[in-house]
Symmetry: C2
């Protein structure tokens, strides 16, 4: 029999603190070259694409996550883990919980390592699944006393704030603008689908920390290179993925691109992290193999 | 709950006649542009690769098969079918039965359409899974009275012949050479992993029919362009895949390449098939989407 985990299994078994710990281990394993994390690949199928992000942990397992761009919501992603020695499928996850939680956990690993220790104010632009999972995970690495959320829809931002309060127990307000959401905050999360910048880099206070999760390609990006220019330290969870975007990553060919360092390298201490008071930006692009890492851990 | 089919489920539910009928429909759907069948994609993961062959049937489903090149035998392939409207996973197959049976069935569709109606003699070079599944499927489209099998290992070819006799009930002998296996036969199947040609094209009798399933790339191919040169009609199940090989398809850049026609086009009558007495070669490369087509049909 093949073990199949559904969304309710994931929700029941994967708490944020555990996920953050596992993602920290995965980032370090990728930095050491033990976790293979190649850029994702995709195929075109008429009205949609299928995308595969793959990984292998030396001596342990290989596997992948599949997702698609067909106009079928919510659809379902599939994560598969094979035993490396036998090739047998150790387990499959079908649903939409594992992928976003893993992105949230990676974001929280970065906050924990790079943001000021006492950071307690957080502004979130975007109220979708990615925004939710950042809050889910960041709330276990920092004690958040003031969460501000924004999306263009009043209904959506109010509903999101109500859910954050009810399910995560965080003090939260919905703000009327992106500017009011991020200005003066110690932690900022951009998690939109916007093809154009949603903030002006000048709104980011010195010494604060920003994660960007949304589009970041030429012609379609939720931020501009000015955001990275404003940061003292710019990190990404996958340099390989930033190099593989088509259209190219928004920083490619700019002065900011060569400043990007690997989050794993910073965690390992091989690359300097921020000094006190410095501003940090994380370009979260999705380190491959981390979904399979989570599933492999959940399968025990 | 997600429906998961194992190898025993596939073996119990998928008979050769049904598989051949479904693959004929799939080839025609691909020719009409209703079945999207892009070339496969892969990623490198240290000691192995993960390969994804994807498909989508207009208005019905999308999905894929995954397999790998890790040194883990027998391992397991995974086939996933999503409903196109909802994105929900309709079912998953885990194992090693579906992929090879589908290749066998495609081979039999071609034999049925392109080989002489009364063909009864068949020579098979290679005694692996692909060879087996060609026999499994071809035996329902032609009444085989003389099957000859060869591999370099005496033990393997004798064991294969014994299994063909016992499980498929076919009259079969193991021959001591590839030449004695294919010379004078109406139907020939090449299903080896050989990096060099396993037959000389001159051994193929005029008017006979040849399927090649093994390697067919520059620097690694079980046949030479001379085999295609000897044929009056050369077909493939996927022109898109032949164009996507890296290293290139063995006929690329040769005079034989432009003679290749699509099996689906021949089935549809849009391209002429062989005249009586003409020699035919099928370069079987694996039409994408056909594994998902089979699984979607099995799920009903």
């Amino acid at each position: 029999m093949v073990t199949v985990l559904t969304d309710s299994d994931i929700a029941a078994r994967l708490d944020a603190r555990t996920a953050v710990g596992w993602m920290r281990s995965a980032l370090l394993a990728a930095h050491r070259g033990e976790l293979h994390s190649p850029p994702r690949v995709s195929t075109s199928l008429g009205d949609g694409r299928l995308v595969f992000t793959t990984g292998a942990l030396e001596g342990e397992w290989y596997g992948y996550r599949s997702y698609d761009s067909f106009d079928s919501s919510p659809g379902a992603q599939v994560v598969v883990v094979h035993d490396l020695r036998t090739g047998i499928v150790r387990g499959v996850a079908v649903g939409n919980e594992l992928g976003p939680r893993r992105v949230g956990a990676i974001g929280a690993v970065a906050v924990d390592a790079l943001a000021v220790a006492g950071a307690s104010t957080l502004g979130v632009v975007g109220t979708g699944v990615r925004a939710w999972n950042q809050l889910w995970a960041i709330s276990v690495v920092r004690e958040l006393t003031e969460v501000t959320v924004f999306s263009r829809s009043v209904e959506r931002r109010n509903a999101f704030a109500a859910r954050v309060s009810a399910e995560l127990g965080l003090p939260v307000v919905a703000a009327p603008s992106a500017r009011e959401t991020v200005e003066g905050k110690e932690l900022v999360v951009l998690a939109t689908d916007s093809p154009v910048p949603v903030i002006d880099a000048s709104w980011i206070a010195p010494g604060s920390y920003v994660t960007t999760l949304g589009p970041k390609q030429f012609g379609r990006a939720e931020f501009g290179p000015d955001l990275v220019a404003r940061a003292d330290v710019a990190v990404t969870d996958s340099l390989a993925q930033t190099a593989a975007y088509d259209p190219p990553f928004i920083l490619t060919g700019t002065l900011q691109h060569d400043r990007l360092v690997s989050l794993g390298a910073v965690l390992a201490g091989d690359v300097p992290g921020p000094l006190p008071g410095q501003t940090v930006v994380l370009c979260s692009v999705g380190l491959a193999g981390t979904e399979t890492y989570l599933l492999a851990k959940l399968l025990g």
